[in-house]
């Protein structure tokens, strides 16, 4: 036990004397959560639009007023002719143009139908889509007001309710994802680097010649990172609660247990990587390409798994991060208890056991 404490003390010296690893350990989680929370967002706010009003009647004025009154849009300019549309799009500031046809109001009353063209800058398809949806919603609202007094015989009114994240805040989606990335990064990449560093420096040989058993060496190397990863998880949850006002609906205890499980599976992956790589650079490349990319692309963190082609959907099943994201989304956003996530937990436990088994086996082979 005393040997073990000495070993851990040594690991802390390594970590706290290396500014780079300190930055990755503590700077990165905070920077990432801030970036994802504030900068990278799917919501639209104060999008600049332009109006081309060929009609200039009561109805178009009312619609324009409604649009400019919403917090989603601000009217950048009014243009006069069709040829201006191209010009202002090219400048890039205006993201959409609303083009009211001539005699909009008259047509509306006479034929019961009038046309408005919504032209969006689809260089960013997501934003373009959102803009067009929002404008449609405002138009539908106006239509409803016009029809107040008229009874329509049959009408289907969809009432959409967004549950678990009623305001559709994208930060709610990013927090579980960022937490997954950070835990993966710290646990897998940092441990694989720190173990391969000992190999590179030749100190691993000295440790293996010492009376320490190989598993003691590995546990000693890994233990500090379990502790630091837990601190990171706590920091991320605190930031999301206090800065982004993201509620944690479920049990914090369950969240902690599941996080520790994921940390251990990532650590096992880190050990596995360190057994197959000879240098720190290799370990880092394998961690980045082999772990980070799949976590970002295939875990359902950014791109929904259900819309992926079947082969990718199948591959996503072997990524531990996918299951962890399902689990923590369940706990944080839906407030579910263990009975709803036991399957995912079991899968994660299975993967962890598999990775540990594999790395122990690889490690033994390497000793030969």
């Amino acid at each position: 036990m005393k040997r073990f404490i000495g070993f851990i003390k040594k690991e802390y010296y390594h970590i706290f004397r290396d500014k780079r690893s300190l930055f990755i350990l503590f700077g990165m989680p905070i920077a990432q959560i801030m970036l994802f929370g504030f900068a990278i967002t799917n919501e639209i706010n104060n999008v600049d639009i332009a109006i081309l009003d060929h009609s200039k009647d009561v109805d178009t004025k009312e619609i324009i007023h409604k649009i400019s009154a919403s917090k989603y849009f601000s009217i950048d300019q009014l243009i006069e002719k069709e040829s201006d549309i191209e010009t202002i799009f090219k400048k890039g500031k205006v993201k959409a143009v609303l083009n009211f046809e001539k005699d909009f109001g008259k047509n509306l009353i006479k034929d019961g139908e009038a046309t408005i063209q919504i032209i969006t800058d689809a260089t960013d398809p997501n934003t373009a889509n959102t803009i067009s949806n929002y404008v449609n919603a405002i138009l539908a609202q106006y239509q409803k007001e016009l029809n107040k007094d008229v009874t329509i015989a049959y009408q289907i009114t969809p009432r959409t309710r967004m549950v678990y994240n009623p305001e559709l805040k994208s930060v709610y989606m990013f927090v579980p994802g960022v937490m997954t990335i950070i835990l993966m990064l710290v646990s897998a990449m940092m441990t694989s680097i720190s173990i391969t560093r000992e190999k590179e420096l030749g100190t691993m040989e000295i440790l293996l010649v010492s009376p320490l058993k190989p598993f003691q060496v590995i546990v000693g190397k890994v233990f500090p990172y379990i502790f630091l990863s837990i601190i990171n998880a706590v920091v991320i949850v605190l930031l999301s609660i206090f800065i982004f006002k993201m509620p944690v609906q479920g049990s914090l205890f369950l969240l902690a247990l599941e996080s520790i499980l994921f940390i251990i599976s990532a650590l096992a992956l880190g050990i596995l990587i360190s057994t197959i790589s000879a240098t720190q650079q290799t370990a880092m490349m394998i961690s980045l390409m082999g772990l980070m990319l799949p976590v970002i692309l295939l875990s359902g963190f950014i791109f929904p798994i259900s819309s992926m082609p079947l082969p990718l959907q199948l591959i996503s099943n072997i990524i531990p991060a996918k299951w962890f994201i399902i689990i923590i989304k369940g706990i944080m956003l839906k407030g579910v208890g263990f009975q709803f996530i036991w399957k995912e937990t079991l899968i994660l436990v299975g993967m962890t056991v598999f990775f540990i088994g594999l790395s122990v086996k690889k490690y033994k082979i390497r000793l030969e």
Binding site: L201, G202, T203
Partner: protein
């Protein structure tokens, strides 16, 4: 087996697939001896050494180190030997004292022992001023002397040195060998591999490995007589070229 033999090897063999890295080597090392283990690169000396220090299991043969069998008691061997690898192997980002404390700790020395020993060690190496400096800031020669002292910290019966003086200036090498002599005089057996043939002259006995087998084993003086040359360098060249 006589009690004076701290290393006793008989027909020790290591195969990697079809390749025989070490081919049935047999030798004995006496207590307090400085035993030079020579050979060209790839001759199999590092592999042989790894089997003796318990981190590589032999394919066949017998080997007894510090009274323990390498097949069945590798863990006991580890407690009784010191090891210094050809790569400098202390932690650069730990201070001199922290390194000593760490390595003393993993060999199970008590806090009091570590304190006493590190005081003696730092004084002997004249490292008083650098005791709290990071090892990374010391010159290579000092690092290597420190590394050697650290490998002796737990009073091992045998110390294995794998090309300990690579890349060091002649003066430091000289001082290093003085340390080796001192350790041997205090009863520690020294098992050393080296490239430098002048260093081979300092050894009590020398074995020369060629392609996995020991081609010659004797005192430097007798080897030179046998091959009718003046230097170990010529002995080595004659053997290695066959």
């Amino acid at each position: 087996m006589s009690n004076d033999h701290v290393i006793k090897v008989e027909g020790l063999t290591k195969m990697f697939g079809d390749f025989t890295a070490v081919n049935a080597i047999t030798f004995e090392v006496e207590k307090g001896e400085i035993f030079g283990f020579l050979g060209a690169n790839g001759a199999g000396k590092t592999t042989a050494m790894k089997m003796l220090i318990g981190i590589s299991t032999p394919t066949s043969g017998k080997a007894n180190v510090a009274g323990f069998d390498v097949f069945t008691n590798a863990e006991d061997i580890k407690k009784n030997i010191g090891y210094m690898s050809q790569k400098f192997a202390l932690y650069d980002d730990l201070t001199v004292k922290e390194n000593i404390t760490f390595f003393g700790g993993i060999y199970g020395l008590s806090r009091k022992e570590i304190k006493e020993k590190s005081a003696v060690l730092i004084e002997e190496l004249e490292l008083e001023k650098a005791a709290n400096k990071l090892v990374g800031s010391l010159p290579l020669g000092w690092k290597q002397k420190l590394s050697f002292s650290v490998s002796l910290l737990h009073d091992p019966k045998i110390v294995f040195l794998d090309e300990p003086t690579g890349g060091v200036d002649p003066i430091t090498r000289r001082q290093f060998w003085e340390m080796i002599y001192k350790a041997a005089n205090q009863g520690t057996t020294v098992f050393v591999t080296t490239h430098y043939m002048d260093e081979a002259e300092y050894c009590d006995r020398v074995s020369i490995m060629v392609n996995g087998t020991i081609e010659a084993l004797d005192t430097p003086k007798k080897l030179k007589e046998r091959f009718k040359t003046d230097t170990m360098n010529d002995v080595f060249l004659k053997l290695a070229r066959g």
